[in-house]
């Protein structure tokens, strides 16, 4: 199944049941593009009627707003809301917790009201509804740890859905001491991704990488493109042999999609 844009569907007189909000990282970052593709494969597998905005999508404005630049945030956010409302979009899924948070919690005040879910929540509900069956072979008994992103976890209280998806892999899920509401940030949020660190003793992602290595896990599962970049950088610097994957990628690998 091909990836369609909402514009294409509209031209054919159709509309999607759910919009896949790809985000800047998912669109442009080579590593995050793999997550985007993985999610498309899962959406195809579950035969969902979905579409993307394609070139009509813009940054949600999260990093600009958190840096303090409300003008840039409002410009991009209002433009997005115009597009979304223009297509009468009701439901949105995204693989980026920052996009997820901004559209879900901040767009309503600007006139954008949608049902927004994170892709780990969607995958969990697809499994629960029997629309997606996980073949557990590849990861059976493998030690996996899970990194809570701040904007999915602490900010939006989504802790269980991603863990339930991981349980379906039959892997050996080993939690870090700082998990769930106590999860340590990867260091990218608040527009830190786009600047050098302030002076300090070490980088935040190094601290997290050490904690991940200490679990003895072979794989760290994440749910955010920025966390993935940060954690992968940490692993590289530590020369640690821990693979960093998005939860959707583990599903694709397991089911050989």
């Amino acid at each position: 199944m091909k990836v369609r844009t909402v514009a294409e569907l509209t031209a054919e007189g159709k509309s999607p049941d759910i919009l896949f909000w790809v985000g800047c990282a998912g669109s442009f970052d080579a590593r995050a593009q793999k997550v985007t593709v993985a999610l498309c494969k899962i959406l195809n597998e579950a035969k969902l009627n979905y579409a993307i905005l394609g070139n009509e999508e813009s940054c949600t404005g999260d990093p600009a707003r958190r840096a303090g630049n409300e003008f840039v945030f409002q410009m991009t956010a209002i433009q997005n809301i115009e597009v979304l409302n223009g297509y009468n979009i009701k439901k949105i899924v995204t693989a980026c917790p920052h996009c997820f948070n901004t559209i879900k919690n901040e767009y309503p005040a600007l006139g954008g009201n949608y049902e927004v879910i994170h892709h780990t929540q969607l995958i969990q509900s697809l499994i629960e509804e029997g629309k997606l069956t996980i073949e557990s072979g590849d990861f059976k008994g493998k030690k996996i740890t899970y990194h809570d992103s701040c904007y999915l976890g602490r900010v939006n209280d989504v802790y269980e859905a991603p863990r339930k998806v991981l349980e379906n892999l039959d892997a050996n899920l080993s939690e870090m001491k700082r998990c769930k509401s106590k999860g340590l940030c990867c260091g990218a949020g608040g527009a830190q991704m786009f600047k050098e660190d302030e002076p300090g003793d070490k980088r935040i992602n190094m601290d997290r990488a050490e904690e991940i290595v200490d679990t003895g896990a072979e794989i760290v599962a994440a749910n955010c493109p920025f966390c993935i970049t940060m954690l992968a950088d940490g692993m590289k610097a530590k020369e640690a042999n821990v693979m960093v994957y998005d939860i959707s990628e583990l599903i694709v690998q397991s089911n050989k999609l």
Binding site: R66, E70, N105
Partner: protein, 447 residues
């Protein structure tokens, strides 16, 4: 009227007057902040007060300090019952006014207070040890040097003095009840004093016992009155302010930054979505964000006065953990220090008001840009605070001032802003946004 009664009335009167002035000034300082209407959802707010403030739910994430703190908290709350009796005795010149009327219930009540007081004593000793001997990092950050460190110990010494007062008073009383039952009505067998009294004061003469009993009584009273003077300059206002602070805490999602309708409407009018807003050319450029306490909300300042400097926020802050200058606790302490500074200036110079205030200083003299720039907005500090203080909101308001009003900020952010503004993406990239999708579809064709 006896001499004791006169001294008592004088002390209460002076403390009452001072307290009224001092706490009034704190209230005034809190309302130097901007108006913010927080009157919605009273049901949920009372629930928070019950669970988080009264029930200390968030304290119990760290079980040992939570239990110890609970002993001191419960003893403090219950001792107030004894204080009511002390005040009534002091006013009427009687002795243990509740003892005869309450009978067995009085024995139970005072025994309960005594047991809690013993537990509080143990907790106080452990806290003193923990604060001074055990090198807990959060008690030894740079912002804790000087007064904050002394402040943390002073309250514990005060607590010990108070307990000495209580047990001297009750212990000698149990002995005096046998020697002079006409003046010392029976309290029944008190749980602690019935054995601690004879053990400490047995063998002393009646006159010594009488003096000690009075000394204990006055010590108890003076320490409590001393707290009225001490609390406003200390970090211990949380014993009162935790309740309103939890009540007025943000209920909407942590993920929602406060919207700025002025900017939203200007952008909407620029995009032709709403009618153009006429611009008055004589009008000064508006200031956005916060540069001083006057631009914060009153709730941000209430947060600062509520902070008891426990440092749980700082101990969870990823920036602080990796050696950056940012400490969420310091942000709260700085806001309070600045509010105190402004308050003192207002007290000294009655021509100055909230509206015309200018002393050439602002919050940026307390909080450096480096601290603000280190925040990842991860909300760990917000999650950690046992009394629902939000250190993140003022950080973001100060960032807004720096970016929107000063047009300053980290230079590396500028390309990100420009890229979003011009290209709709956080990076300046030549590719189409859906290039990945075209490739994905080509691969599908190939299969």
């Amino acid at each position: 009227m006896g001499l004791q009664q006169i001294i008592f009335l004088l002390l209460i009167g002076i403390s009452g007057y001072f307290g009224f002035k001092r706490y009034g000034a704190i209230k005034r300082n809190i309302f130097l902040g901007q108006d913010e209407d927080i009157s919605d959802n009273a049901g949920q707010r009372w629930k928070n007060v019950l669970l988080v403030a009264l029930g200390q739910k968030k304290m119990f994430k760290r079980i040992i300090p939570a239990v110890l703190h609970f002993f001191i908290y419960a003893a403090f709350l219950m001792t107030q019952i004894e204080l009511i009796e002390i005040i009534l005795d002091g006013l009427t010149g009687k002795h243990r006014i509740f003892a005869s009327s309450l009978g067995g219930f009085y024995t139970f009540l005072i025994s309960f207070i005594e047991i809690l007081s013993i537990l509080a004593f143990v907790a106080t000793i452990i806290f003193l040890w923990r604060r001074n001997m055990l090198k807990l990092p959060r008690f030894h950050k740079p912002e804790m040097n000087g007064w904050p460190k002394l402040d943390g110990n002073l309250i514990l010494y005060g607590e010990i003095l108070l307990l000495i007062g209580i047990f001297t008073m009750n212990g000698t009383d149990t002995l005096l009840q046998q020697l002079d039952p006409a003046h010392y009505p029976s309290t029944g067998n008190l749980a602690v004093s019935s054995w601690l009294g004879p053990a400490l004061f047995g063998g002393l003469g009646e006159s010594s016992l009488h003096i000690l009993e009075r000394a204990g009584w006055w010590l108890h009273l003076i320490v409590i009155l001393g707290f009225i003077y001490y609390l406003p300059i200390s970090k211990h206002l949380h014993i009162f302010l935790a309740f309103p602070n939890v009540y007025f805490a943000k209920l909407k999602s942590r993920g929602e930054m406060e919207n700025m309708p002025v900017i939203m409407n200007e952008v909407k009018s620029m995009m032709g979505l709403i009618p153009e807003i006429p611009v008055d050319p004589n009008e000064e450029l508006p200031e956005f964000g916060s540069k001083d306490i006057f631009d914060l909300s009153w709730k941000n300042i209430l947060d600062a006065y509520t902070c008891t400097e426990c440092g749980r926020c700082t101990s969870m802050c990823p920036a602080n953990l990796t050696g950056k200058k940012l400490s969420p606790r310091k942000i709260m302490m700085d806001i309070r220090d600045r509010a105190e500074e402004v308050g003192k200036t207002l007290d000294a110079d009655k021509t100055k008001t909230k509206e015309n205030y200018d002393d050439g200083k602002n919050l940026f003299d307390y909080i450096s840009k480096e601290e603000l720039h280190a925040c990842t907005t991860c909300n760990a500090c917000v999650e950690a605070c046992p009394v629902m203080i939000d250190p993140l909101e003022p950080i973001l308001k100060l960032r807004r001032y720096e970016i929107l009003t000063e047009s300053a900020g980290p230079a590396e952010w500028v390309p990100m802003f420009t890229a979003i503004e011009n290209g709709g993406a956080v990076w300046q990239v030549p590719d189409a946004r859906d290039k990945w999708a075209q490739e994905f579809n080509q691969n599908q064709d190939a299969e």
